[in-house]
């Protein structure tokens, strides 16, 4: 059992030294350039008819580009560190989603439930 653990550690040490290849880096770069250029162009030219649609489209582009960076630049996969880096990432994503959506949801409700100032000054 002990020797197995040693072998696993040695293996995984070698895994860490693989940093992708020139082609994966270039593919990631080209994808990133395209995924950056399109949202900038959409906003600067106002190509889409409505602001809501533009906003949704550029947010979708951001999500895709984050995934591209994770795979091609950060070499994220389910196997590295025996899956623990993926677990840490998933946990962080859950926390980020809770923090972001929770804050925006609670604060927008608080905003819409605030009494307008002109009504408040009439109350004594």
């Amino acid at each position: 059992m002990n020797t197995d653990t040693h072998a696993a550690h040695a293996d995984h040490h070698h895994d860490d030294n693989s940093h992708g290849s020139l082609s994966t880096y270039l593919l990631g770069f080209v994808l990133s350039v395209v995924l950056t250029a399109i949202p900038f162009w959409l906003v600067m030219s106002g190509a889409l008819p409505s602001k809501q649609i533009t906003a949704l489209v550029i947010m979708a582009f951001a999500v895709v580009q984050i995934v591209v960076h994770m795979i091609y630049f950060l070499h994220m996969n389910t196997k590295s560190e025996n899956g623990w880096s993926m677990m840490a990432l998933i946990f962080t994503i859950v926390m980020v989603v809770i923090a972001l959506s929770g804050s925006l949801w609670v604060m927008s409700h608080l905003n819409s439930n605030m009494m307008p100032i002109h009504q408040m000054t009439g109350m004594k």
Binding site: H19, Y25, P39, V43, L74, A88, L89, M95, V96
Partner: protein
């Protein structure tokens, strides 16, 4: 951990201490550094949430549309993206033990990073000169905190980069330096990921608002 075995009939358990197997130096560094990056990610999540809540409170001051120059932001974004790919080249040349090429790509990465910081500071100086200071409105406080924290991270990354270049120059591509360069690689690419959020949610959505 102790394991109890009872091979005899006497009923006396015999305890063996499980061996603490040795770990090669730095074997857990990349996971530890990844967990640090994830905690840094939470800092940025909170700053994004703050900006999301306060981003529309202009207090009759300037709005994103009046302040942001998207073509400048596009140039800035390309600086960071280019520095990401050049850092990737540094890692590839490091894997091939080409020390001179590694140093050159690291230096180019540093120059792109410096250009990014320079453009960002110019933008900040321009905004402050126009009266759009962090004290002006909740939107501007949240903006300067979020974008400033990212800029501070990039600046720290630049200091780290120069430190590692000196390390590589003095000691060569030894195991410890390879590990350090790999950590900085993760840090640098992570900052580029955060910047995707910044240019989308702060600049593009801000101008769209």
């Amino acid at each position: 951990m102790t394991i109890a075995v009872n091979p005899t009939q006497s009923g006396e358990p015999i305890f063996y201490l499980a061996d603490e197997h040795p770990h090669p130096e730095g074997w857990s560094t990349s996971l530890g550094f990844w967990i640090y990056l994830m905690s840094d990610c939470l800092i940025f999540a909170i700053l994004f949430a703050t900006f999301g809540v306060l981003g529309g409170n202009y207090s009759a001051g300037p709005a994103p549309k009046d302040l942001f120059d998207l073509s400048l932001v596009a140039v800035n974004t390309s600086m960071l993206l280019l520095s990401s790919i050049t850092y990737g080249f540094a890692m590839l040349t490091m894997a091939q033990n080409r020390i001179g090429a590694t140093q050159m790509w690291l230096a180019i990465t540093g120059l792109f990073g410096l250009a990014f910081i320079g453009i960002e500071l110019t933008e900040f100086a321009h905004m402050i000169h126009e009266g759009a200071t962090p004290q002006r409105s909740a939107f501007l406080s949240a903006f300067f905190t979020l974008v400033g924290t990212h800029g501070l991270h990039v600046s720290c990354g630049l200091i780290w980069l120069v430190t590692l270049m000196v390390q590589v120059w003095k000691f060569g591509l030894i195991e410890a330096n390879r590990r350090r360069l790999m950590c900085l690689s993760m840090f640098w690419h992570f900052l580029d990921v955060v910047w995707i959020g910044v240019f989308t949610f702060v600049y593009l959505l801000g101008v769209l608002r």
